[in-house]
Symmetry: C3
């Protein structure tokens, strides 16, 4: 869908590109979350859904991501839709023969009703949306920039547990500098009232001054902390993230910080509240001890994963106009 600037959802998803969390307001999130809950029921029912029957969605993945790819593929198929799956087009396609990104997008939109795109370059999903004439584009991650469906599933997971997204206290740990998921989560929470987020990260991976200043202008309280001992005992959620090895040019620097903050049963015992849930966008590579997995409040391998599929089901049904809105 060609567009001048980022289109606001304003409660009507039909035909809209989904490029950034900044397109959403509270009412749109509530509409999406209500439908997401229904999608969970559909996925569990034995009777197959036909909501997307006759619809084809292209999954155009320029970059490895089995989890996001699998989640979208399953979401589409759970609703009876079909996929055209193009993985790694730079090696297995016309792109290899020198085709431009623009032409690739135009070709694929002719075959389908929507395109889900993952691409390492910042702004690629926006570029695809500018090019496409009629097929809505869903951003499944454009480099370190945006990954709105991840942010939506994170917000939904918190909402599902606490039945609200305001007056919450959260702790985010790990990479604030490069990690896009943390920034999206903060932007989402800033839409609601009276949220506080504690930021725990190695010195070198703190939120950039620019990002910090920008977030301060929004309605959210951010508190930098330096040690696990500063974690408040009444947090609603802990959101741990991976330190992204691929962002470091010097491996020694990576080794120094990668395991600085590890989520362990001991830390939970010392600093978590009775209701605190434990989240992670995955993949993890050591920053959460496997011993935490069996904790019933560890949602990263349970509801967070399933919610990712449900929220994508809801989003696709809305964008493709299958739900009255």
């Amino acid at each position: 869908m060609a567009l001048a600037s980022l289109p606001k959802i304003k409660g009507n998803f039909k035909g809209k590109d989904i490029l950034s969390l900044d397109q959403f307001d509270i009412a749109s999130l509530q509409k999406l979350f209500k439908l997401t809950k229904q999608m969970a029921e559909i996925a569990k029912k034995s009777k197959p859904s036909k909501l997307l029957a006759g619809n084809i969605v292209t999954l155009l993945f320029y970059e490895p991501s089995s989890r996001t790819f699998g989640s979208f593929a399953a979401a589409i198929k759970q609703l009876g839709g079909q996929t055209v799956e193009i993985l790694d087009p730079q090696h297995f396609s016309s792109v290899y023969k020198g085709e431009t990104f623009e032409d690739t997008i135009r070709v694929f939109e002719a075959y389908c009703d929507a395109i889900v795109i993952r691409h390492p370059q910042v702004g690629s999903a926006q570029a695809a949306a500018d090019i496409a004439s009629f097929a809505p584009i869903i951003n499944a991650g454009d480099g370190p920039h945006e990954h709105p469906t991840q942010a939506l599933l994170d917000l939904y997971t918190i909402y599902e547990r606490f039945k609200k997204l305001d007056h919450l206290i959260g702790v985010v740990a790990g990479d604030m500098l490069y990690g896009r998921t943390v920034k999206s989560l903060i932007r989402g929470l800033a839409l609601y009232k009276a949220n506080t987020v504690y930021l725990l990260s190695p010195d070198k991976l703190r939120l950039s001054k620019e990002d910090f200043a920008n977030f301060q202008k929004r309605h959210i309280k951010l508190i930098q902390i330096e040690s696990e001992q500063d974690i408040p005992k009444n947090a609603h959620f802990w959101y741990w993230t991976r330190v992204q090895k691929e962002r470091f040019t010097n491996l020694k620097d990576y080794e120094k910080v990668k395991n600085k903050f590890v989520l362990t049963p001991k830390l939970i015992k010392e600093r978590a509240g009775a209701q605190t849930i434990f989240m992670h966008p995955l993949p993890r590579v050591g920053e959460i001890s496997p011993k935490v997995d069996s904790n019933p409040r560890a949602v990263y391998l349970r509801s967070q994963i399933r919610n990712g599929m449900y929220i994508r089901m809801a989003l696709l049904a809305l964008i493709l106009g299958k739900i009255r809105q």
Copy 2:
């Protein structure tokens, strides 16, 4: 479907291999084109088609081609059929363990109702058809040799616009030596009466003497031209093609000729007629200026792409016996 020589369609597609444009006569093309028009309606309708429900088509792609792959996959799924998708089998399959092409074809035909094959070697689709006992084979490109569904969609695109395939004047530009699409297009037009095609190519990429002599025996007038100034002003279509870098052993030779003839708004203004449509088989890598894209008669990113899907839908429905014929 095992066969002695190239089987003529003669109005009955059921169970036939589709290997070459030379299998078609005018009546068969008309039958296909009539159904293609209906397929366009089916693809646009919101009600899902069940025409290929229960059918499985294997897409066996030994060579990169996201466009042709996506077009076939979407065509099958538009009609409610399913695919088994095998990409790059030489690296990800039994072929890697030393399995012969013959065994691979026999194995896959056991799983499905038809096989779409793309393979870099000339004659590979014919070889597959000779081996297969019951599954029809569709050639999706055997190296520089044949790519019949591309030729069919090109012919259909011209037919859709002018409601005829005779008494036409066309201009083809680019690579006549290696490019298979141009040769197929000429062969198709030669079935009809009183067509004239102007050939505009760099010296080194002219039609081979052998090809030229062969085409002369058919019912078509071919005129070699050397400059854009020789383009007749009353052409029905311009068909531009990519100079195929991969055919050149010397990169300098490629650089010399690649941009010799570029389709620009200026050239359109100077030499195109009011009705001329602008075609390209894609991918393009510079031989059509992006400024031409917005011209409403530029069909290469619009109807030509969509027609590719529609014609494959029609062809599959006919071959699999889903349409009375």
Copy 3:
């Protein structure tokens, strides 16, 4: 499905992991084979089956295998089910970012109803089953260890032809040391009464002493033979196998033994009985002469392939609880 040890089927497949042939008893095999025969009818019928409609099965293939992959994909789709297809996850996925095998399994089971896994490491399917909380795991080959659906289709192919799996005489040739298919076949036949299997292999590729001793404890008679002249004339089946090049560190050793025993029309004339069927698990790389292919009793490119799809259809329908049991 998390489990302590290998779960016996005992006639009830619902929700069970399929990891090894050792889970089966005669009654379970009979139930499976009866349904497999019905699946052959379903696959041939023009009316599409809806048995797996609404079901999603993940195909998680860490290793090349187009044949097994295609067979499972087709089986699922023949029954109206859908797939999430993850090929080569170590290069195209979160695994690449350092995700553990455990996390990958947990993520994918959240999206689907069952996981078919192929992995080069011995015990990987069992490991996946230990991790998964609810999705049944089907082993599609864990290195040289087990490949139960191959063994099942081999047994079914013999059963289909002779209407029994007892009192049979078989000849297996090729690689007994590394080849898993032969060992699985022997284990399957050992469940039944009075079977005799002649083992014909190069010296260096004989069954290990340990395997031979273990098989001797089961109800099956094994006879090592050294020459094609020792093949009994009344065998029910000949089962030829590939000498696996990838197991040899020294290529010369491989060259010495690879073509030691070749199945030719001449050998058939000299040593086969009138009813003997000729089997091979494929891929083959020279150990069966293509001249044998046209022999009507050569089943390796015919019923053995199709039976692979039918048995996987039956197995999936049973595991997913679509058949009363």
